[in-house]
């Protein structure tokens, strides 16, 4: 079930009603309801993979218990590795097996041997990367004695499967979410209003910005040979906004929905395109994943401690693994590597923690230096997104080559202008500028419209919300998939 589907608009009020009007006095009832609703939500996509989700939940639940009951470190280690191997085994089989088989066949064909790789024809279970990482964080935390194993299976299952975060995060931690599940939730008027506002902004990002940008980005990326340098630049820019609004829009809807049930999820985005360097960008982009890799991979590897080579090694490992997490394709590995290359100079010169606060905090406008820093960071991310979007590595390189060389052919500007007028138009430019303006105004909040309009008179505020809703309706149509569902 997609958030931006009519089914969800019916599902959500029903669950909300049952949750607050029928089982509101009973914590166990609330959790059972959330679990049933979450499994239903997941089964709407493909009920067969529900068994995989339940198996994964059972595995981590039991290995967690076994680890906490283990009498010695050897037994504990056994259950720990069993969970890790099985979890990563499933992820590897569904997500990476075909990639490795095909890459192996290509590699040995280069030395003269030809094999037909045995591939498996299976669709990727939606959300597998997310719920596997939920489970892994739980098991690793128990192994490291950070938390105790959860004895209540329902509570643990809700932690893994809570429907707003089930298919595309945020990737939660047991230390953050489990205590909320175990606590009695009471309806909080202002939190629910805040949640609705966040859902509204999420829908605006997805339907008005991401889906429109997707149309133009696809038009250009799917036929890159037919476009001039300026058009390719437009395509890269459209994808840059598409990926941000698609994923952060999803996260906003997830966080807002969770608030309606009295639960706070981890923040996933914090206005990343206003970052002044790549280190700041990665503190603001897909925060729950970045912090997951930081805590469970980067720090165990030694983090930024140790010698220069160790720092370089760890940086490359974390970025490449992060890229590979997104999908089994060399383009994602290239995207991760490129980000590591961007990040490394900052780390080696100890400048990776210069910009911890949001840009121009307490001011209306950035300084000239801040503007240049933001623009250059943005340009670097646009460049990296080309790898992320391209079908394969060769196409990505060709895209960048044609983009960079094409920008110096002035004659091609005319064809780009004709293309823009014929297929794109100023409507999307207007909405992009409006969107960035609202994001800039609300950049010190959790999400852009969190505080906008709160001091306005009620009719004006209502008009503002109606305007957003009508714009969403205007651009709505057939349901569009979220990009991160495929990861």
């Amino acid at each position: 079930m997609l958030f931006n589907s009519i089914n969800f608009l019916i599902f959500l009020p029903i669950v909300f009603f049952l949750y607050w009007f029928i089982v509101q006095k009973n914590l166990k009832g609330q959790n059972i309801l959330l679990l049933v609703a979450s499994y239903f939500f997941y089964a709407c996509w493909d009920w067969r993979f529900l068994f995989l989700l339940i198996f994964s939940t059972l595995l981590d639940y039991f290995t967690g218990l076994k680890m906490s009951q283990a009498e010695n470190q050897k037994v504990k280690k056994f259950w720990f590795w069993l969970s890790i191997i099985v979890n990563l085994g499933f992820l590897g089989t569904f997500k990476y097996y075909n990639f490795f088989a095909a890459s192996f066949a290509t590699a040995i064909s280069n030395i003269g041997f030809h094999v037909n790789p045995w591939t498996i024809n299976v669709i990727l279970p939606v959300g597998i990367s997310f719920y596997t990482f939920h489970g892994l964080s739980y098991v690793i935390d128990i192994y490291n004695d950070r938390i105790k194993a959860e004895k209540n299976f329902i509570d643990y299952s809700v932690f893994v499967s809570f429907f707003p975060l089930l298919v595309a995060g945020p990737i939660e931690r047991a230390t953050h979410l489990l205590p909320q599940i175990q606590q009695k939730r009471e309806f909080n008027y202002s939190k629910a209003v805040n949640g609705l506002r966040q859902i509204l902004w999420g829908f605006f990002k997805k339907v008005v910005i991401a889906d429109q940008c997707a149309e133009y980005a696809n038009m250009i990326f799917n036929n890159q040979a037919g476009h001039s340098g300026l058009s390719l630049l437009m395509g890269a820019l459209f994808f840059t906004f598409q990926i941000y609004c698609d994923f952060s829009g999803y996260s906003d809807i997830a966080l807002g929905t969770a608030k309606l049930f009295g639960i706070d999820l981890l923040r996933n985005f914090a206005f990343p395109y206003f970052s002044r360097d790549i280190a700041e960008f990665w503190r603001r982009w897909h925060i729950s994943l970045s912090s997951w890799f930081r805590d469970y991979l980067y720090i165990p590897l030694g983090g930024s401690k140790g010698g220069t080579w160790k720092k370089i090694r760890n940086t490359f490992i974390i970025f490449i693994v992060s890229g590979f997490w997104h999908g089994a394709n060399w383009t994602f590995i290239a995207w991760g590597t490129l980000n590591a290359i961007y990040f490394l100079p900052l780390l080696l010169t100890n400048n990776n923690r210069n910009n911890l606060e949001i840009v121009a905090k307490g001011r209306k406008l950035p300084t000239f230096k801040e503007s240049i820093s933001m623009l250059s960071t943005f340009a670097l991310t646009v460049l990296a997104w080309v790898f992320f979007r391209s079908d394969n590595f060769t196409n990505a390189l060709l895209f960048l080559k044609n983009l960079l060389t094409g920008l110096f052919i002035k004659k091609s500007y005319i064809s780009s202008i004709v293309f823009f007028n014929k297929h794109i138009g100023f409507s999307i430019v207007f909405f992009l500028l409006l969107f960035m303006l609202i994001e800039w105004i609300g950049r010190e909040q959790q999400f852009a419209i969190e505080k906008i309009g709160l001091k306005w008179k009620r009719p004006v505020r209502l008009l503002f919300y109606y305007a957003i809703i009508l714009t969403i309706i205007w651009f709505s149509g057939k349901e569009q998939q979220f990009i991160y569902f495929q990861f």
Binding site: I6, N7, I10, W20, F21, Q24, K25, E186, F187, N188, Y189, A192, V193, L196, N222, L462, Y465, Y466, I469, I473, W474, F475, S476, G477, K478, E479
Partner: protein, 219 residues
């Protein structure tokens, strides 16, 4: 004390729900109005349904199937009373449902013409890009197959901006969605479109009628 807390909780959630209800009510009314206006625009489905309802007993030759049938044969040249209940991309299961719906009323039916294409036996609307046509049979023919909310509403099968354009075109320029002639045959005298069909039609037909053709998004 617990009772008072629950009372406050109840008041809070009720107040919130009522406020949200009244906030959303105008939007709901607006959307329902648009849906009704859209359904009021004449189209091939509503026309053919009405024709069959009124004339099923008189029809001697009934043509079913997809656009190939709609465009190829002109029923006016057939001496027996003929009608085309064919629609763009209509699949064989819908042909069957149409026959079933009017089976008791086809008193004079002598010939039933059903086309067989290479895709006829395995293509269904729900398999591919033509899924949005299912709503036409639900709304205008009252024939139900599969359950999906979008199968029952005009408004959910198109971009809202496109729906508004349809309304404006009809109420200002009387441009409806009825493209067929009185006996149900479609016509197209637009040369550029015909030329385009010759150039690209076969590939597009392959994409449109191939099972799971959502897998070919770039086509």
């Amino acid at each position: 004390m617990i009772y008072i807390q629950n009372l406050q909780l109840g008041y809070s959630i009720k107040k919130w729900t009522i406020k949200l209800f009244f906030f959303l009510l105008p939007l709901f009314i607006f959307l329902v109005t648009i849906e009704l206006i859209l359904r009021n625009i004449p189209n091939d489905y509503s026309y053919k349904r009405k024709y069959l309802d009124e004339n099923a007993e008189k029809i001697e030759v009934l043509f079913l199937g997809n656009s190939h049938v709609s465009y190829d044969i002109n029923p006016a040249f057939i001496q027996l009373r003929s009608f085309k209940a064919s629609h763009g991309s209509q699949t064989i299961d819908y042909d069957y449902m149409l026959i079933e719906k009017y089976s008791t009323r086809f008193k004079n039916l002598k010939y039933l013409v059903i086309p067989i294409d290479y895709f006829t036996l395995f293509t269904r609307f729900s398999d591919g890009w033509e899924e949005n046509r299912i709503k036409n049979y639900n709304i205008y023919y009252g024939m139900h197959q599969g359950f999906k909310i979008s199968y029952y509403f005009e408004i959910l099968n198109n971009k809202f901006s496109a729906n508004i354009s349809r309304i404006i075109r009809f109420y200002t320029n009387s441009i409806s969605h009825k493209y067929c002639k009185n006996l149900g045959n479609s016509f197209n005298d637009n040369y550029p479109i015909q030329k385009e069909m010759i150039d690209n039609g076969s590939f597009r037909a392959f994409v449109q009628h191939s099972i799971n053709n959502k897998k070919f998004p770039q086509a």
